[in-house]
Symmetry: C2
Subunit: 333 residues, 2 copies
DNA sequence: CAAATTTGCGCAATCGTTTGTATTTGTGCG
DNA sequence: CGCACAAATACAAACGATTGCGCAAATTTG
């Protein structure tokens, strides 16, 4: 069962492959009559163009590479979905790879995509990524690079990010306005833009209302459920706090469980807000206030920026996607 | 910034491209000395083989296509993750497309993958899929087809599925043994294997314990949260039931909310079990009993079957992956 | 030492398209 | 009728890698 090629069609029609190629591309240089004959025969024979051959010859590919830390995370899979929503109708296909939050894997993924001669790469950096040679290589190779969420500002090209500062500001401000006064912030690695920005938003709100920021209430590297669980129990013994703003919903859930474990007066006398609005946030009891980030929208913008870049205008900008505060029970007093 | 090719390397070394190609492939026909020279120079020049050219010539691709109903569903993204875990180290890359549960999109996706000359297709059918010409085309085109989860038994090739029957049996049996007697089953479209099989498991358990199955307690097409919410409220007015086994966690959550809404004595006098063990299942209060399906494992098996098929031995078998019953509060009496 | 074999590499065709440059055929016009 | 010109198609060279075959030099063998 060999695949049918334009040569097969050409032979059957007694013309040359070039005519077939042009006919299928609706080139005016071939008469309408033959164009029709070619197209119907092509359909009849079940012809599917060989995109590899086409890409090879044209020097451009319809494959777009995408690298995410983990595909099975709600936020990222939503973004992928958004990217496909734009890219597929435009005739592109997505080659997806995971970095598993490791620099090593990320580098391998980049190389693999480059070998496949993707037309561009859409990436969210791994937490480990602290050197950027592999991405500089992409840029130098003239392959458009679109970054989202966890980005490196030193790399040229479009960057699509959440409005982390505003999100964190809103979350913290809401806790403050609910009457909580000693609000801790469980953050991630502050070297990473998303966490750094959330810290800024948190500080801004605190500074506006309380005047002074207690740096000791900002704890780094607490993004997993387990870390949240352990940290809340520990910190409550050491410090007097009455609320936590977590940089992620999973750590917030850890706090949630930790509070139950020690029978804190929650909700009510203790406030909690997460970030990310995972599906489970609203399902919890009490439901978890959180910041919703529009993954699908981020994906769509990233895809559009990629298409633009491929078509020659690469924007070296940062596009900030609005977030929304979801007020629920966990932050009520 | 042109990409470096084997011709560039050849010129610099004063040999022909064929020698470069062989050297890089560690072919014994070129001396160890030149092999080394070639490899170091290749690295120096940052050479990345053009896999399109290679695939075109070799007539085989390192791209594997994958089609899932929705990428942003926990179960599917886990499977994708499992697939990559096996495929990437083996040198393959994944081209992922979504069918959005529509036959039309699924067909388009298949064609797109075929145009990209993928080496094989891994697919879970959309709910709408009731005709299989597009997939027969794949098989006829000699492209290995590996199905998982929602499969069509009439198509040749490996099929990897959950042990739906046992899962449903365990879930139902547990409700029965907890003392629930009038157990309804909220199912999906029974024409689809996964739902059909879950009905079988449900019936088996009921038959074993109660002797007779009341067919009117099996309700089809209730897989969304909303459907679960509405149906539980309606059915409780019409029939006397004391438990529900849902074919999915989302509909189970709908029931969960519905029960709260009407202030049923739940948990305790009403039992509830879901299917899928979504992350939120254990986070609910009361926590939701469910059937855990090992997506990662399904993915890994599917990937291995694909590799086998590519290497020439396509197994026309159905591989059943065990599931596990997670007993939680929602099914306690 | 000549013949046979091995070693190391070059030549050229090929995979399926695309595309710049011919070449053929047809049309209109003086 | 002959010429310019346009229309329709053919020719052939790419794109970058792979691979069967051929050929020279080096090595082994009888």
């Amino acid at each position: 069962m060999k695949k049918v090629t334009i040569n097969d069609i050409a032979k059957k029609l007694g013309v040359t492959p070039s005519t077939i190629s042009r006919a299928l591309a609706d080139n005016k240089r071939v008469s309408q009559a033959t164009r029709d004959r070619v197209k119907t025969l092509a359909k009849e024979m079940g012809y599917q163009p060989n995109l590899m051959a086409s890409s090879l010859r044209k020097g451009k590919s319809d494959l777009i590479g995408m690298i995410v830390p983990r595909i099975n995370r709600h936020f990222f899979s939503n973004i992928i979905s958004g990217v496909e929503e734009i890219l597929n109708p435009a005739g592109y296909s997505l080659l997806i790879m995971q970095s598993h939050e490791e620099l090593e894997s990320e580098i391998k993924a980049v190389h693999s995509l480059m070998r496949n001669r993707v037309g561009g790469i859409i990436i969210s950096l791994s937490v480990e990524t602290n050197s950027y040679d592999h991405l500089q290589g992409v840029v130098k190779g003239n392959v458009p690079l679109v970054q989202f969420d966890r980005v490196c500002k030193d790399l040229k090209g479009p960057k699509i990010v959440n409005d982390n500062i505003t999100g964190a500001y809103l979350a913290t401000m809401h806790l403050l306005q609910s009457g909580f006064k000693r609000i801790a912030h469980f953050s991630g690695n502050k070297m990473i833009n998303v966490y750094g920005e959330r810290i800024i938003g948190y500080k801004k709100a605190i500074a506006e209302v309380l005047g002074e920021v207690d740096e000791s209430l900002i704890l780094e590297d607490i993004i997993t459920r387990d870390a949240g669980f352990e940290t809340i129990q520990k910190i409550l013994k050491e410090k007097e706090i009455d609320a936590v703003f977590c940089a992620g919903d999973y750590s917030a859930f850890g706090v949630f469980e930790g509070l139950k474990d020690i029978k804190a007066h929650f909700p009510g006398e203790f406030g909690l807000v997460g970030f990310g609005n995972e599906p489970f946030a609203e399902m919890l009891h009490p439901s978890l206030s959180s910041i919703e980030q529009d993954g699908r929208e981020i994906g769509k913008i990233a895809a559009q920026e990629m298409i633009d870049a491929i078509n020659g205008d690469l924007h070296d900008i940062e596009r900030v996607v609005p977030v929304e505060f979801k007020e629920r029970e966990s932050s009520k007093r």
